[in-house]
């Protein structure tokens, strides 16, 4: 029974398995949004507009990938926004100290991965609840970013960096290529190796997973480290796009990412969820935000709509499913 439950919740690379109820609802919502957009403002859906608007989403989308896997194991990482700030500030300070760009970027990635690894050590080996660990590092990492930069922004990066953030290969923006590489690799690993099964198993029942020989601690360390690394990559993309590095970047990113993941149908209690759902969640949030701001120039309505959607979708799921808790 349990074995079957785990099997059916395996994460496929592509929506090979039938989409879940939550995913169908999201698809319908996205399509109706497109329908409304097409009716009110056909230009919104034109590829050039969509490609320009997409520059806003890649950082969120990148961080949502490891976040999905972490939540699958019944964990959480609240420190991603602060890690972004820390990596960005490290990169900025290296540039200010006349380091070569590549060296600064390498150090920023290293710092991000180390920040994630520290979370991982506390969660996996000291065995502190991930909510508490990452709540602490949420304050600590942003605090260090504020401390070492004294709150001052670094800007005026060379064109070569700006090109990395805003340039494109053919029609495809460079950040999109970074995202595609990460998502394809992750999806392949999840589908073609036992990793996806392991993550679900840890989320369902960690003790059982441990006894069945899964290296729970090592997997968790790796997940939190990759979350930190992905936050660092997003930070570089952000700095390249906005041409400024400051300690306040990424504020609130953690909650936006978690909203996208949960909206995509991943259970906050772990064990159940798919990357495909997260992609739909990210897409819905992104398109909704861009359209409301395109059409009415009102960002605040987006917040109300997304918050309501999050509550209603999980409420519907809870009311429609047979009693679990």
């Amino acid at each position: 029974m349990t074995q079957q439950a785990i099997k059916t919740n395996r994460i496929p690379a592509l929506p090979a398995a039938l989409p879940s109820r939550q995913e169908i609802v999201l698809l319908i919502l996205i399509l109706s949004l497109f329908g409304v957009a097409n009716h009110l403002s056909p230009n919104f859906l034109a590829p050039p507009a969509q490609i320009t608007l997409s520059t806003h989403v890649w950082e969120l989308a990148l961080i949502a990938i490891p976040m999905t896997l972490i939540i699958l194991t019944a964990g959480i990482d609240l420190s991603v926004g602060s890690t972004m700030a820390l990596s960005a500030v490290v990169f900025g300070l290296c540039y200010k100290a006349h380091w070569p760009l590549a060296a600064g970027a390498a150090l920023a990635l290293l710092v991000g991965a180390a920040a994630g690894a520290l979370n991982g050590i506390f969660v996996a080996y000291v065995k502190v609840h991930p909510l508490i660990v990452t709540l602490a590092t949420l304050a600590a990492y942003r605090g260090i970013a504020e401390g070492i930069s004294l709150g001052q922004p670094v800007s005026g990066f060379p064109d070569s960096l700006t090109k990395f953030g805003t340039g494109s290969v053919g029609m495809v923006p460079i950040p999109a290529i970074v995202f595609l590489v990460v998502i394809v690799v992750t999806a392949l690993v999840m589908a073609r190796t036992p990793v996806g099964l392991w993550l679900s198993a840890i989320g369902y029942n960690e003790t059982a997973a441990q006894y069945s020989g899964i290296a729970v601690s090592r997997i968790k360390l790796l997940l939190y480290t990759s979350s930190g690394l992905m936050a660092a990559i997003s930070a570089l993309l952000f700095v390249a796009r906005r041409n400024t590095a400051k300690a306040d970047i990424g504020t609130g990113m953690e909650l936006a990412v978690i909203t996208a993941v949960v909206l995509g149908g991943t259970s906050i209690f772990g064990g159940r969820g798919r990357l495909f759902g997260t992609l739909l969640g990210v897409l819905l949030i992104h398109e909704m935000r861009e359209f409301l701001s395109w059409q009415w120039n009102r960002d605040e309505i987006t917040l109300v709509v997304i918050g309501t959607l999050l509550i209603l979708s999980v409420l519907a799921d809870s009311l429609l499913s047979p009693k679990k808790r």
């Binding site: 609240l78 660990v133 602490a136 304050a139 600590a140 909650l255 605040e300 918050g307 999050l310 509550i311």
Partner: protein, 345 residues
């Protein structure tokens, strides 16, 4: 402390009550740890700069800590039930805007008393909705309150509509700057809320039921404890206390703008957790939360009074984060020691 339970208590609850001695000794250790860190900070900084421990500054520290302590009391009960609430910061923002718009002469210009009553009612209502969704909608509280937080942020931006409120009436200002027996209103309010919360936790059947249902919800349900109404109560209480904190802290601000309450939810959760309340419910107390709130509030004045230069204040959050990690590590060590102790006995 005794847990009032019907005669046929399941073994789980019994064993929890029986383990009370060791369990409370452990809790005390955690409180003492935070207390020791707080006392050490006060003594060391006081020796370096005596003005730090002067009455005026201690009062300022208390006033600064008041919102976290007040909301922390409600949140402690929520976390004791094994739930969480992260909508308090956004709620505080909305309540500040509503309170300002209701009473300010350039907006609705209602009497201050009415404005405050509506603010308190609105806070309780939002808490009630959170509680209904969690208790009766069977939803995870982190999702409910994350969604609520997002909605409230949007509502606040829509309400405030780019116009900051700069003309809070004098009657409203009094709640921030007024005094009774030379002590600010916010400190009186804090003392009142803390005392009531301690009595609720220790002396009332409801408090004992909160502990019981948090430490083992299934057992609590089977013994006939009304777990859902209790959950509804703790979320509503947190909403109400968020409104109380808004009333006594926001009038101190020069203006009401969309940034009010930003990040407050994380501060409150941090206080509860650093104060020793277990995130999985059932263990913890109010005093720990209060001490943790004081410890975190002392960081900024410490940096100022040590005269480390203007750049020092940028390290406030880093130091707060380090305090949390230190408290968590201490807790793990204490727990490991108690496990060893049990194995030996």
């Amino acid at each position: 402390m005794t847990i009032h339970t019907p005669p046929a208590i399941p073994s789980q609850l019994q064993s929890n009550a029986a383990a009370g001695g060791g369990f409370f000794r452990l809790l005390k250790q955690r409180e003492y740890g935070v207390l020791a860190l707080l006392a050490l900070t006060l003594i060391v900084v006081g020796l370096i700069n005596p003005a730090f421990v002067a009455g005026g500054n201690l009062k300022d520290i208390l006033v600064a800590a008041a919102p976290a302590i007040i909301v922390g009391c409600g949140l402690t009960f929520v976390v004791l039930m094994g739930e969480i609430d992260i909508s308090m910061g956004a709620l505080m923002g909305v309540l500040a805007t509503v309170m300002g718009q209701l009473t300010s002469p350039s907006h609705a210009h209602l009497p201050v008393g009415e404005g405050i009553l509506i603010t308190l009612a609105l806070g309780s209502l939002v808490g009630l909705i959170n509680g209904l969704l969690v208790a009766y909608g069977r939803m995870p509280s982190i999702i409910v309150t994350l969604g609520m937080m997002t909605v409230l942020q949007g509502v606040n931006l829509i309400l405030i509509n780019g116009q900051w409120i700069t003309d809070m009436p004098a009657g409203l200002r009094w709640f921030g700057t007024g005094r009774f027996l030379a002590v600010p209103i916010s400190i009186w309010t804090t003392i009142l809320v803390v005392a009531a919360s301690i009595i609720l936790a220790r002396e009332t059947p409801l408090g004992h039921r909160i502990y019981a249902s948090g430490s083992n919800p299934e057992a609590a349900r089977l013994t006939g404890l009304p777990v859902r109404p209790i959950k509804l109560f703790v979320f509503t209480l947190t909403g109400l206390l968020t409104a109380v904190a808004t009333v006594v802290s926001v009038p101190l601000l020069a203006v009401i703008e969309p940034g009010v309450g930003k990040g407050f939810e994380l501060l409150a959760v941090t206080c509860v957790v650093v104060g020793g309340t277990s995130i999985s419910g059932g263990q913890g107390n109010i005093i720990g939360t209060v001490l943790a709130a004081l410890l975190l509030s002392v960081v900024r004045p410490t940096l100022v009074f040590l005269k480390l230069g203007p750049s020092a204040s940028y390290w406030e959050r880093a130091i707060q984060g380090a305090f949390i990690l230190a408290a968590v590590l201490l807790d793990q060590v204490a727990r490991a020691r108690s496990r060893r102790g049990k194995a030996g006995a």
